[in-house]
Amino acid sequence: MDFSFTEEQTLLRNSVQKYLQNTYDFDTRRKVAKSEAGWRKEAYAYFAENGLLGAAIPEDFGGLGGSAVDTMIIAEEFGRALVIEPFLQNAVIAAGFLKAGGTNAQKEELLPAIAGGEAIYAFAYAEPQGRYNLADLTTTATKSGNGYTLNGQKAVVVGAPFAGKLIVTARTSGGQRDADGVTVFIVDKSAKGVSTRDYPTVDGQRASEVTLENVTVGADAVIGEVGGGLKLVEKVTDEAIAALAAESTGAMKVLNDTTIEYSKTRKQFGTPIGKFQVLQHRMVDMFMNYEQSVSITYMVTLKLEEEEAERKKAASAAKVQIGKAGRFIGQQAVQIHGGMGMTDELNVGHYFKRLTVIDTMFGNVDHHLKRYASLS
């Protein structure tokens, strides 16, 4: 048992930290989020050039051959800076699908472009009626010739406005919520029949509603097994959950540090508010929530390769812990900052909103408590 980082991992963390400190201060991030584009291609290019997108992609496919621990380190630092470029969608989710489900040909073709930042993906899985059930799909893919024709609507596809390709889950057989019959496709966003409506999200990111109307793809657009895609989707979303957990600990750390710092300088009734015992204990609870979240992030990261039930339990446990901790820390950071914590000007509200969104992504606390219980 070993919880230490390798020298390479420490270097990785330091270099990411340094880059973000220099180029990704809060005001810049706020401006970019509000800009027409909503992201900075040059930042994304930097990620690619410095191996962040390929950190966990095998060397054979253009990556650095690292592990989920590298992803954890990057995601945590990205969480501290509230990075909005689509790291999760590409380095974790798209790469994750290809690594676990892609054929050798697909890996050779597609992974290097992810590592290199040339191809940008978004993951179109949720549907308006489906909530967090990954199998609840009304989007269909019917066999036509050698390929498939896709029809359906995908909801809140985060990062889709930046993407050139979509990873789409669709039903090739079975009933609306059956475990069998789910297939994963890669669809060009520019393909005929794909239409998107873009909008900003509350955490400064962008998303789209995606409609697929008789979109035809070839047989090679399938990742993994036809009809057997659910297990793959579950594996990749569990990996995404681990990365989100790491991201959330980065955000929590900033909120905690900011709150402690603020409480030392802000005076009320002539005393720094950090001297009020009630707020001290509240900040201790914030600290404990954070530490417990770090612990569970290590746990889920290290258990991603365990057998399915163990991995799922780990992911759901992590999602519950960070969901609760994120809500508590976010709310209390705002409360202790008082009115200032409510403003758009201070970073507090932005971390608060990001943590709020993270709780929703891939299922909130209630969803994962049920999933955890069903696995026990």
Binding site: Y199, A207, G349, T360, D366
Partner: protein, 394 residues
């Protein structure tokens, strides 16, 4: 002890309900997608009530044209919440108005009260200052007497809807050497006076509700000072303790839970109605039970007021529990809509496109915005300090 209203109260309720039905501005009922209120929208219901004579039943003669018992006021609030009428802005009728009729000179009353009642003059509140928070008395804004005028310098913040205001009431320090709560005076200031600048504060929900108000050598005539010089804290305290009715927001929270349940009946989880999900069932039951207890706590306060004992310091309970419940409702609404909690609905410019069901619009922003309720009006921590000291004697 009984729970029944008197026949008179029931008759009153019927009268109120009919009046509201016939007169409420229908286009302002509740909250609608993509609808942002203009200045006149805030005033429409105010003006209707003024015409009816039902605007200020809590005011004394000669201003009130009706006098309602605490129970009737409670019924009035309940019926307004039920019908989702627009809230009446408190700055004139619930704040500066009572200060003026209590501490003002006859000339001041004559000059200012009519505009407050008619709604023709929009007031805003110059209390809070940067870095003061719930510690109001630590204010730094100064008013220096120069002949017939005071020269006001300083900055106020969290000034709600100052962007629409004609006048502002201001607490300013007139004696720098006095202790915190002494040496403060209460001024009425025309917002058009040179030297006043209003700067918007954008909140994390993207909305523009509050402002900074800067005073740069603002000349205020002596006759605009209320009460004696250095007695402003008396006015401030009076204002803060005045009119806490409805602070618990029970009736509005009941309505909000009703809307939440309607929504959960439309949302699906694994093909079933979300309202039948065990977690939601439990959370809503807990919420409703808490609210029921709070309702009866409010009724007990009301009864004690009715009995002439006045609302006790227990009103801090109403504030704490009331805001906690309001906040929890916004959490459940947000949880209820799943991924459609993500889209940002810009309150400053209509979105080109609003994804998801109508009831989902802006729910996370509303959740974020409602965090303010445990901060403002004396934070919930301050309320607990008050109970500890004043009620428990700790």
């Amino acid at each position: 002890m009984d729970l029944n209203y008197t026949p008179e109260d029931e008759a009153f309720r019927a009268e109120v309900r009919t009046f509201i039905e016939e007169n409420q501005p229908q286009h302002l009922k509740g909250r609608k997608r993509g609808e942002y209120r203009e200045k006149e929208d805030f005033l429409a219901w105010h003006r209707t009530l003024y015409k009816k004579g039902w605007l200020v039943p809590s005011w004394p003669a000669p201003y009130n044209t009706v006098t309602w018992s605490p129970t009737q006021k409670y019924i009035w609030n309940e019926e307004n919440a039920r019908a989702e009428t627009p809230a009446i802005l408190p700055f004139g009728v619930a704040m500066v108005g009572p200060v003026i009729y209590t501490f003002g000179t006859p000339e001041q009353k004559e000059r200012f009260i009519p505009g407050i009642l008619s709604g023709d003059v929009w007031w805003c509140q110059g209390y809070s200052e940067p870095g003061a928070g719930s510690d109001l008395a630590s204010l730094k804004t100064s008013a220096v007497r120069e002949g017939d005028h005071y020269i006001i310098n300083g900055q106020k913040t969290w000034t709600t809807l100052a962007q629409f205001a004609d006048w502002i009431f201001v607490l300013a320090r007139t004696d720098k050497n006095a202790k915190a709560q002494e040496g403060i005076s209460f001024f009425l200031v025309d917002m058009k006076t040179p030297g006043i600048t209003v700067k918007p504060i954008i909140m994390m929900d993207g909305g523009h509700e509050v402002n900074e108000v800067w005073f740069d050598n603002v000349k205020v005539p002596v006759e605009n000072r209320i009460h004696e010089e250095n007695k402003g804290w008396t006015c401030a305290k009076f204002l803060l303790s005045h009119e806490r009715a409805g602070i618990a927001g029970v009736a509005r929270s009941k309505n909000a839970i009703g809307r939440l349940k309607d929504m959960l009946a439309m949302e699906k989880i694994d093909g079933e109605k979300l309202i039948d999900d065990a977690d939601f069932e439990r959370k809503i039951a807990e919420l409703e039970i808490d609210l029921t207890a709070l309702e009866y706590t409010e009724l007990r306060t009301l009864a004690s007021e009715q009995a002439g004992k006045g609302p006790g310091l227990e009103s801090s309970i109403l504030k704490i529990k009331g805001t906690e419940i309001q906040q929890r409702i916004t959490e459940l609404v947000m949880e209820g809509v799943g991924y459609y909690a993500l889209p940002f609905s810009d309150p400053l410019a209509h979105n080109e496109f609003a994804p998801g069901p109508e009831y989902a619009e802006g729910v996370t922003q509303h959740y974020a915005n409602m965090r303010k309720t445990s901060i403002y009006g004396g934070s919930n921590e301050i309320q607990r300090n008050i109970i500890a000291k004043m009620v428990l004697g700790l």
